[in-house]
Amino acid sequence: MIEPTYVMEESEELLFPGHLACQGCGATIAMRYVLKALGRKTVVVIPACCWSIISGLFPSSCLDVPLIHTAFETAAAAATGVRAALDVQGQEDVNVLAWAGDGGTFDIGFQALSGAAERNENIIYCCYDNEAYMNTGIQRSSATPVGAWTTTTPKGGLEDRPKKDIVPIMAAHRIPYTATANVAFPDDLYRKVKKALSYKGMKFIHILSPCPTGWRIPSSESIEVARLATLTNLFPLYEVENGDTWRVTYHPSRKMPVEKYLDAQARFRLMSGEDRDQIQKNVDKSWQELLKRSG
């Protein structure tokens, strides 16, 4: 069980009402929780992604903190620049948040991300993962899971490669803190951001953020579907400290079949039964490996 923190409810609200996200957008919920944990002394960097739009059109912004929009592939490099400027100005206590989607993290921004991690830049990088290029209209990314329909993995050519396993890759950079999180588990997310802040250096949090439009689910079921991802062990919640200390932060009380998660989303409707069986096997295997790593 995750201990409820309650602190979150008392913490400051840094997301104004009036953002431009779709109904049920996981990425917006994720930002709200993360900012609550980071607090007002934060500068946010956002590359091209859904959040380029969500934050509002000039001259508006829905964030109550400074926000820098930057080129698609530059979230980690731009966050590095913000950090450098703050440090030379004597503002070492200000948090720098790089906030990117899966495309900007797994694909086009991966080089800059790896560079910043290798340099151990004192920033927190959050990837809100909705598993495709949703802002441009649902094209597959390397975070798109096997069997998913997108506009570039259409009927007859569904995604056939496994999702890039980003967290172990980031942990392999031996950065102080790497974790997964899920908008359906806000206390876990909040606690992880707080824990990340206790480290100086690079922090990476991978947040599963459902996209009702792209996942083909009713917007009212966003959190339910996200919760199933973790309850079925398909998206386990864990953290890695200093690249070598792994810990599962949530153990589902009973095993739930992956089918439950897949069936809840029309994007998986075209997947074959064989693929479903294979996914279940992969999930079971990965979960066992994770438990082993966690000691």
Binding site: F16, R40, K41, T42, V43, V45, S52, I53, S55, G56, L57, F58, P59, S60, S61, L63, D64, V65, P66, L67, I68, H69, T70, A71, E73, T74, A76, A77, A78, A79, T80, G81, V82, A84, A85, L86, D87, V88, Q89, Q91, V94, Q111, A112, S114, G115, E118, R119
Partner: protein, 382 residues
């Protein structure tokens, strides 16, 4: 204090004296010495700055952009392929009205790999919105870097300080290094009121719909036009302190010249030498050194070219199918002028441009009423 410095180290001293706060760069020949020396200056404590060893030129400029948005004085250096990799971010920096200064060392572009001198790399970035200043000596490199920060911060446009691979970058010349106090008086600490501040709910670069985008670009255009006047002021102020100024264009023996050659960068030196030789032979030759290419100083150039009966342009660059880029720009600026313009292209990929070759260009123009074609390649085997 006078020191014998290679062009790249002259640039480093310019950056040190300008008290850059954030330096982010990636190695590329022939620029690398600039940032090597800067990293040594930071390590020695001669310069209080953050030196960030990024994993690409693209990240180098992204890093400078974000640091500049936060109000820090930012610098990077690159060349050729590195500059081309930055292309997208050159637009970001200029569109964001960020006073970043960059050193760009002119080097040819592959394929095939070629580390030698050619101007096509910077000239192909002419529409990104950066001010471009070309240098003809190591002293001019140091001075121009310092001037560039003042200019950039005054008009809120990033500036590229440009000089030739090896001919300047790796060549040692005596350079006067001004005292820090002198430069502190010329270039005060950066105080950008538009910088983002912690605790303020402001955004940089938000989605801008058609209601606003065009006005932003027009404001940029107008500031860009103003940059010429501003540079003249910066140049005068700098000359008052150090005795050295360069001008947007620098005419040499043009007052009574029949033939005037326009050249940018280190070529301005040998062309001047050839002009002297030709004068001794009784040929009325002159030279115009073009320091500023963006914004394009059409009026100053026209004024300097007034005495000429024939105009010659020397390009160490090529827009394939069009010809020399300087010649193209000058023809466009002189479209209502009936005087003939010879466009010579030479020295691509680091091939030598000898005084004899330059003299042969003057003789070509001397012996003809008009050029045989728009683009004349010189010093070639074809």
């Amino acid at each position: 204090m006078k020191k014998v410095l290679m062009g790249n180290f002259a640039a480093s001293h310019g950056v040190r004296l300008s008290r850059a706060q954030v330096i982010s760069a990636y190695p590329i020949t022939p620029q690398t010495h600039v940032v090597e020396e800067l990293s040594a200056m930071v390590a020695r404590g001669d310069l209080e700055a953050k030196f960030i060893k990024v994993e690409s030129e693209h990240s180098a400029l992204a890093c400078c952009i974000a640091a500049s948005v936060m109000g820090a004085r930012a610098f990077t250096a690159t060349s050729s392929h590195g500059l081309l990799l930055m292309h997208e971010l050159l637009h970001w920096a200029a569109g964001g009205r960020l006073p970043i200064v960059m050193v760009a060392v002119n080097r040819a572009i592959a394929p095939g790999w070629n580390i030698w001198n050619e101007q096509t790399d910077t000239l192909s970035q002419r529409d990104t919105g950066w001010i471009q200043l070309y240098c003809a000596s190591n002293q001019e490199i140091l001075d121009t870097v310092i001037q560039a920060f003042r200019l950039a911060e005054s008009v809120k446009i990033p500036v590229m300080v440009i000089y030739d691979a090896f001919i300047l970058s790796h060549t040692y010349e005596p350079v006067d290094i001004p005292e820090q106090d002198t430069i502190d008086g010329f270039l005060p600490p950066l105080d950008n009121p538009e910088a983002l501040k912690v605790g303020e709910a402001r955004a940089f670069g938000s989605v801008t719909n058609p209601d606003f985008h065009m006005e932003f670009r027009i404001k940029m255009h107008n500031s860009y036009r103003r940059a010429m006047e501003e540079f003249e002021q910066v140049d005068r102020d700098y000359a008052a302190l150090t005795g050295r100024g360069y001008g947007i264009v620098e005419p040499y023996r043009c007052d009574d010249a029949d033939l005037i050659m326009v050249a940018a960068g280190s070529l301005a030196g040998p062309v001047r030498m050839v002009v002297d030789d030709l004068r001794e032979k009784g040929i009325k030759a002159g030279r115009v050194k073009l320091k500023m290419f963006r914004p394009f100083p059409a009026a100053q150039l026209k004024e300097a070219l007034k005495p000429a009966k024939k105009i010659l342009v020397l390009d160490r660059n090529l827009s394939p199918g069009t010809g020399g880029i300087f010649a193209h720009e000058i023809r466009s600026a002189m479209k209502d002028d009936s005087r003939p313009i010879w466009g010579f292209v030479a020295g691509l990929g680091g091939r030598d441009i000898t005084p004899e070759l330059i003299a042969s260009m003057f003789f070509d123009a001397l012996g003809a009423e008009a050029p045989v074609s728009n683009t004349i390649f010189k010093g070639v085997r074809l």
